[in-house]
Amino acid sequence: MGARVGIVVFPGSNCEFDCERSFAGLGAEPELVWHGETRLPNVDIVVLPGGFAHGDYLRTGAIARFSPIMDAVAEHARQGGPVLGICNGFQILCEAGLLPGALRKNAGLKFLCKWVEVRVDNADTAFTSQTERGQTLKVPINHFEGNWIAEPEVLDRIRANGQVVLRYTDNPNGSMDDVAGLMNEAGNVFGLMPHPERACEALLGSSDGSLLLTSLIESVSGVRAAAG
């Protein structure tokens, strides 16, 4: 039985179906979870998908992080369960304090939907185990607020810890230190602006994203085998 993936649906989320399709295509067992629930179903991985939760009104992720399900997500994370936030999901994780920093409007003040190249700067994580350090991946971005920022001391700390997992090779949005993807100190909560679920099929332009999703799936199948 494949890894069980819970994809949280907030009002205004819009990448939940794509995540569902791509995880299923990689042999996992995705299931949609409504934000109004207070408990997570029995899942190994929690995904906060892209979109415009609550219309991105006020600030991206500002309202979503108060959704009833978020306590359960935080608890899942506290117990070491993997959590992946993609695009809007990344923004929500930052607002919820599960990841450091915040995301501002792109430096160019334009929404950007395009293919970019990201470099794996830490391949020794549950999210990048199938890649090599220094390897570049072709994945699409699709956001207006991807310009990540944090206090200098926070940046120093997470760099020292190798928490910056993915960097743009050609920074499209002004993100500090070219940050495209991050993890928390414990290494089980990941957030990235690019959309790996959109890069799982050569027909659509690239299948590099599947390396990231597969890494995550593998990381838990090990655990679950151990758990028997």
Partner: protein, 729 residues
Amino acid sequence: MDSAVYHELGLTDDEFEAIVARLGRDPSYTELAMFSVMWSEHCSYKSSRVHLKELPTEGPQVLVGPGEGAGIIEVAPGVAVAWKMESHNHPSFVEPFNGAATGVGGIVRDILSMGARPIALMDPLRFGELDSSKTAYLVDGVVHGISSYGNSIGVPTVGGEAVFEDCYAENPLVNVACLGFVEKLMHGRAEGPGNTVILIGSSTGRDGIGGASVLASAEFDETSAEKRPSVQVGDPFTEKLLIEACLELVRRDLLVGFQDLGAGGISCPTSEMASKAGTGMRVDISSVHRREPGMEPFEVMISESQERMLGVVDPTNVEAVLEVCTRWGLEARVIGEVTKSGRLEILDGGSVVADVPSAALAEEGPVYRRPSAPPKWIEELRAQPVGDDAPVDLGQALLKLLGSPNISSKRWIWEQYDHMIFLGTVQGPGGDAAVIRLPGTDVAVAITVDGPGRYCYLDPYEGARLAVAEAARNVACVGARPLAITNCLNFGNPEKPGVMWQFAEVIRGMSDACVALGTPVTGGNVSFYNETKGRAIYPTPVIGMLGVVPSPESSIGSTFANSGDAIFMLGVTRLGDFGGSEFAKTINGQVGGAPPQLDMDAEKKLLDFLFSAGSRLLTSAHDVSGGGLAVSLAESAIRGGIGFTVKLPGDEAHRVAFSESPSRAVVTCAPGRMKEVLDLADAKGVSVAELGSVGGDLLDFGPFQVSLAEATSAFEDGFERSLTATLEA
């Protein structure tokens, strides 16, 4: 009643008399307001109806033709799509960001009302020349509006047009087409007296009062400024909730009938759904959830507040429907019931504020056969030189064309649009047509939008045929078979015989072309009164062509792929085809003469060739349109990042390079497959010329060359350069 009252609402004396005759009494003010929106040009098609009747609308592939929210076309056994285009021209001129945004919202609800999930958008846009800061401001606002709304509701915008001509300076065109994937076919009918009527979505406010009659059915002038209170702010978040909630209602079979609220507000779906079903409706507007206190009954009835739908529900399902809406965070209110009376009875608490036959509003509006005659200027215009003088330097001419606003890459626009969501975008913006794989199927369709206004200005009949042919060619170039069209017909003031003539000629041309190609018209939209201070736009029919691709994997790209591939041109180049061409306009500053004449038989053979060859034989295909053969070759090279060598004849090279003869395409194949291409062309009766081969970093035409780098920077940066230049000027 004082005539000033109904004149102010845009009703004529005759129309008022007709209302009185139909009711047998003077209408109440609420009734009058309802008639004024429902009988407006925008809602009633009173000037266009007699002509639209001429269009071919039937075919085995057509499940639902014109007259409903959107046309429905069967693209594979048991797989159907909804396809429709709409205009939001005047609102976008008044307030570009919100005008364009609410334009997207409107067409998306049309698609939704058919029980289809909106899965792709296209945005044909037209503005004045890019050298004015006002135009730059409009472009920026419109694109930002479409981007922020379309991206937020999670529907990809996969293509469009951006055309710049002086005639649109004071009257930009913002058309939006939407493709839907039918989950369960729905109809806008209020069947079953006793059924409950539920209003779903945003609260009703004073915003957009009389939008249809005020903004979309009259010419523009200085006083339009005072009409600004009717500006609406789009709420993509609520629209997204509406999409998901309504699709759940549809899937769970909780709705009897269903329609969106757009122009005309509550008056529209109530009267139309009842009228279509031969029933009536009793509605109590005191239960309509409001955004503002103290609204008059007439305001509630005609407010065009966005993001609302009307559902007809079996009483036993009301609870379930309300539960779904609440879960999605949407307001939903029972506002009335279906009756046998055939009348639309509007109550405000205890008192009746309107009581009129539903059909009188919905179907018995005035129908005009307006006087039509060729405008005086047309002969003069046709007599003018076409502008085919040779340029000093062919290479420079090509670079100038590649960098011109109409031809240069629109990347700056489409990179602001999510064009990938749903994992269906096999080919997105940048090519001849978008190729979309339908969710959960292995079926792929191709869609494109084309509207050559300059050709139609010179000759509306021929221009319309060329529009349909180019659209068909664009879908054929990605390997699809053309199936059906939708359209958006943008014209000036129909009360002017010259404009009416242009309209009639365009309809005639469109009909002939659609009959010849077997692509029926499954719906569309007419936008009249595109005039400001008496100056009309070019007659601009935008054609939205839908085609079907054998399989998602089998589509063809328009980019040169492999060094060594052989390059062919299919079709015949006529050396005099410069009337209304990009070359004539951009290089010689001339718009005159006659447009190219379409040989429909040759066109059909070309389409047939492209479809039969497909990706099995071809490594790329790109139609030859604006800018001619040279631009077509250059675009494929630039998109592929690789040059080519071809041999064009030396004398009068500019005619071969830039003539815009229709029914042509540039295709490539692997060197080993050349004979097959020639044989197939022979078999299909398509004339074919072997031009040369792909490779190198030069665009080598023989008589002239430009470097791939130069051409790329002209094409890729041209648009943004002109735009930002004017924005900052």
